[in-house]
Symmetry: C2
């Protein structure tokens, strides 16, 4: 019997991934760039056990067994890992031995924090440790086939997922742009916003966007490539002003494309938009960008802020949003106001580890 336990981080996209050019291989219509968060606050944790005595593959997610179906993304990832194990001449664990996989997130799935990205990154990374496969660009293509943005969670720091051009997806890989210690005073605050509204799942939302939005094509071809170049430069030169503006604009444009989808997909709510207004007002008051927001396919805000500005920003947030927090439409993991600061600060960023 062999067993391995690994953790994988959450990553937050700065240039958004929205839209696939191949559904099954999960090939994106454009490059994306993300920042990986520290696993100290938020992570997925997976234990994979291989044993000659197991009769079949089984998987538990947050304690509940989930089906391990033929043709599923889970199955697909496992097959790809087996292929890599053979290619690498790895013989540590016989590929015929069945697996028991147990994965947990230390944050609520309902928080909408891309749990599937951390989850699939953790699964693939754990399997790679089990079968003794080195972390490589090719391994990111395996994670990608579990959940697109999972490929970015294999690395710490700033990571670019390349669209690629090949039909088989072998060049649609994630690469680290800068390691986790490159911009050590970069911090993230996550404001979790409660939301009762039924959302369109990301997979479906993307499909509909590619099919029906007349603006997404222009975004993909004319807007994103330039933003990728400029964000890379901003990261390389620690230019928070450029970083903030590109990040906020790309978040807005992703939600604009979702709204241009038919029927429209709406992920932000009134509280999200109040956070956006707050950030712009706050930056105006400060005289330069001290904070930048980004929103994924949900109402929660991720705010980027440099370490030295965290205390001031937090106190400003708590002044502006006490009523919302009190009447229950904004909360952080269900905890009362004084805890916002404690739990929302995800400081530093690291990749997968075992």
């Amino acid at each position: 019997m062999f067993s391995v336990t690994c953790v994988a981080p959450v990553n937050i996209a700065l240039i958004k991934y929205w839209g696939k050019r191949h559904e099954e291989l999960i090939l994106p219509v454009n490059d994306s760039i993300s920042m990986t968060l520290s696993t100290d606050e938020l992570c997925a944790k997976t234990t994979v056990t291989a044993s000659e005595s197991f009769e079949r593959n089984r998987m538990w997610l947050n304690g509940e067994e989930v089906p391990f179906e033929e043709g599923s993304r889970l199955q697909r990832c496992l097959k790809e890992v087996h292929r890599l194990a053979v290619a690498n001449g790895s013989q540590k664990v016989p590929p015929t031995w069945k697996l028991h996989i147990a994965s947990v997130n230390n944050f609520p799935t309902a928080a909408g924090l891309a749990s599937s990205a951390a989850g699939y990154a953790c699964l693939v990374y754990s399997l790679s440790r089990l079968y003794d496969i080195p972390l490589s660009e090719e391994l990111t293509t395996v994670a990608r086939q579990g959940s697109g943005s999972a490929c970015r969670s294999l690395y710490g720091g700033f990571v670019q997922w390349h669209r690629g051009a090949l039909d088989d997806g072998s060049d649609s890989v994630a690469r680290q742009i800068a390691p986790s210690d490159h911009w050590p005073n970069m911090h993230v605050l996550i404001l979790v916003v409660n939301d009762a509204r039924k959302k369109t799942a990301s997979t479906r939302g993307m499909q509909q966007a590619v099919k029906t939005s007349q603006l997404i094509k222009h975004r993909v071809e004319q807007v994103v490539p330039d933003r990728i170049t400029r964000l890379r430069e901003a990261i390389a030169s620690h230019d928070f002003q450029a970083f903030a503006e590109i990040t906020m604009k790309d978040s807005n444009q992703f939600h604009a494309v979702a709204l241009d989808t038919y029927p429209p997909c709406v992920y932000m709510n009134d509280v999200s938009h109040r956070i956006v207004s707050f950030v712009h007002d706050y930056n105006d008051r400060m005289g330069s960008y001290h904070a930048a927001y980004t929103f994924d396919a949900g109402p929660n805000a991720c705010l980027y802020v440099l370490a030295e500005h965290v205390p001031h920003l937090l106190s400003a947030i708590q002044k502006v949003f006490p009523n919302d927090l009190a009447d229950g439409d904004t909360y952080l993991r269900g905890l009362p106001i004084p805890k916002v600061q404690m739990l929302s600060a995800a400081i530093g960023f690291t990749g997968c580890s075992c």
Copy 2:
């Protein structure tokens, strides 16, 4: 002393006007199409009096005097009307006589129902009656210089405002596509949604969109021309299915462009989006489009529906939105639920009249 009193209708854009190519002349970046509402429910009413004894031009809006400043849009419209009066050889009222102008809306300005469009249309139409100038394409260019969409309120029925190509704006005119009796069973329901949020004024929002949105150019050049053609065909052939889809998509895209503006402009709120979801769900249930929404630069919904479907739609709305109505975040002109139906139905559509 001469006096004239006219009424002008509200018009609701189906293909949205958003963005100017000339600020002062109010020349739009794209064509737009609107439907003019009946003046029975909603209208602006203006009385213009000319007298040799008046010492200066004065204007009252809803009972309050407003400044009549040199260089204002008001002044500009008056000058243009005087120019047309001379060109038309009109001698009824001496152009040296000063004017007293009193204008009222029979609906709250706060309802966000394009009161300036009806207001300027009414002003210009009243002046044209006073000075005996015929209603013409040229007169629509005068109303346009008061408030862009005002040019569309001079006519009843379906109206197209042409972008035009000339620098002096003389070909940026409104023309009737179909008269008010062309589609007699076309009805509009207006759902007024309360909103506390501070909005970006339309003029500023448009300027910012043209300056900062990377998507608006694509909309203007690649999307709108085709939609104009197809909506004209849908109107000509009474094709409610095509009419509904084009109208909803264009409303969504206008709000997408507003969101892609930097900083973003957000006009719809959570209740607006719940109305959108409701309309899509309702149409799904009906098996075809029975209702179409459109939202201007505010949270209120205009729903298009054929006369024979009004009662069923109204009862469905009242089933879905009673809680919102009860807890105060959706209301119709501040009145309780049972009045929704009464006040929201603007049936039929007519142009200006005296």
